[in-house]
Amino acid sequence: MTEFWVSLLVTVIKVLVVLGVFLGVGAYLTWFERKLAGHIQARLGPKLVGPFGLLQPLADGLKLLTKESIVPAGADRVVYYLAVILALVPALMLFAVIPFGPSFKLFGVEVKPIVADVNIAVLLVFAFGSLLVYGTIFSGWASNSKYAFIGSLRKAAVIIGYEVVLGFSVLGVILLAGTMSTTGIVQAQIERGVWFIVYQPVAFVLYLFCMLAESGRVPFDIQEAEAELVTGYNVEYGGMRFGVFPLAEWYLNVMALSAIAVVLFLGGWSGPRIFGPLSPYLWFLIKMFGLVFFVLWLHWTLPRFQAKDITEIGWKVMLPLAVLNVVITAFVYYFV
C-alpha cells in the first residue's frame, strides 16, 4: 500500500513541476518573442521594466489579472467561460506524455521524468490536439461578434485540415518504431543509433507545417489576421481570460508540439554525453527550444497565406504526400 502512496506522491510532484515550469517558461517566452521581434525589426523590444525588460511578463500578468471582468452582451455565458478552460487544459495535457529523459533513481525510488508513460501516448497527443478545436469554436460562437465567429471558423478549418496530415505523417514513425509510447519511440531510435528524421525526412517537413498550422503561427495565422479580424476569436475576451488564449495557443502548444517533434524525429534525449550526468535532459531541452526558436523566427520573417491557399495546400498537396509517404515506408520497411 505504501508503494501506491509513494508513486502517487511522485506523480503529483511531477505534475506540479511540469505545470510550474512550462507555465513559467510560456510566460517568459512572451518576453523572448517580443525581444526577438524587436531585434528582427531593428528595434529594442521591451527594456523598461527591470533589467533588459526581464520583469515585463510579470507586469503584463499583473495587469491582465487586475482588469475588470466584462462579458459581452448577447454572449452565451456558460460556453464563454468553458472556452477558456477548453483552450488551456488540452494544451497543458500535451505535456503529460513527453519524456524529458531516461529514468533515474532518487532515494531508492525509480523516477521516470514523464508524467504518464502510457503505451498510447501518440494517440493521446492527437486526442488533445483535436480537443483544442473546441476552445476556438466555443470562444467564437459564444462571443456574439462577427470577428470572433469568422476567426474561429477559419482556425477550425485550418486545424481540422492539418490534423489529418499530422496523423499520416506520424504513422511512418510509428511503423518504424513499432510502438506508440513516446519513451518506446525514443528507445527505438537510440537502439538503432539513427534519428528517425533520416528515414522520414518528408514526414518531418510535413510535421513542421502541421505544427505551425495547429498552433496558429505565421504563415498559418489567418484566424488572427490583425489587419482584418483584429485577432479573431479572442477579440471579445478581456483580462486573464484573454491572456489564456495566446498563452495556450502560441506558447504552450508550440512548446509541446516541438517536444513531440523531438521525440518522434530528433532522437529525444539522445546525444553525446558532454554535459556530464545532466546531458540527456539538456539535449532534450536544447533540441526542443531550438525548434521553438525556429517557429518564433518564422513568425517574424514570413508573410501570411490566404485562407484559400492554406486549405488547398493542406488537402491537395500535403495529404497525398503524407499518404504516399506512409505507403512507401510500409513497403520499404517490409521488403528491405
Binding site: 503529483v12 504518464a116 481570460r241 486549405t311
Partner: protein, 119 residues
Amino acid sequence: MNEYLGILIFFVIALGVGFVFTVANSILGPRTKEKMEDYPYECGVPLYDPEARGTFKQGYYLLGLLLILFDIEVAFLFPWAVVFKDIGIYGLIEAVLFIAILFLGFVYAWKKGALKWQI
C-alpha cells in the same frame, strides 16, 4: 494503471489552473459597471446585425465532413502501424487496399470540387 492515474491527476490540476484563470478577473478586477462596456466590438459604430451567429461559408461544412472521413481512418491505421512487423504480408496488403479505397473517396471529393475554396 498507475500511469493513467498520472493523466487523471494532471487533468484535475490543469482544470484547476483553467478555472483560476477564468474567475481571477471577477475577484481581482474592479467592479465599475458602465453603460456600454459590454457592447459587442464593431469598429465603434452601432451594430449592423445584433446576432453574429448567422450564415457562414459552406466550405467549412464540407471540410468538416472530410475531416470525419479521414481522421477516423487515421485512427484505424494507428493500431496497424504498431503491429506491422507481426502480421506480415497479409497486413501490409490489407492496409494498402484500405488506404487505396480511402484515397478513392478523396479523389471523388476532389473531383466534386469539395476542396476548392473559392467557387
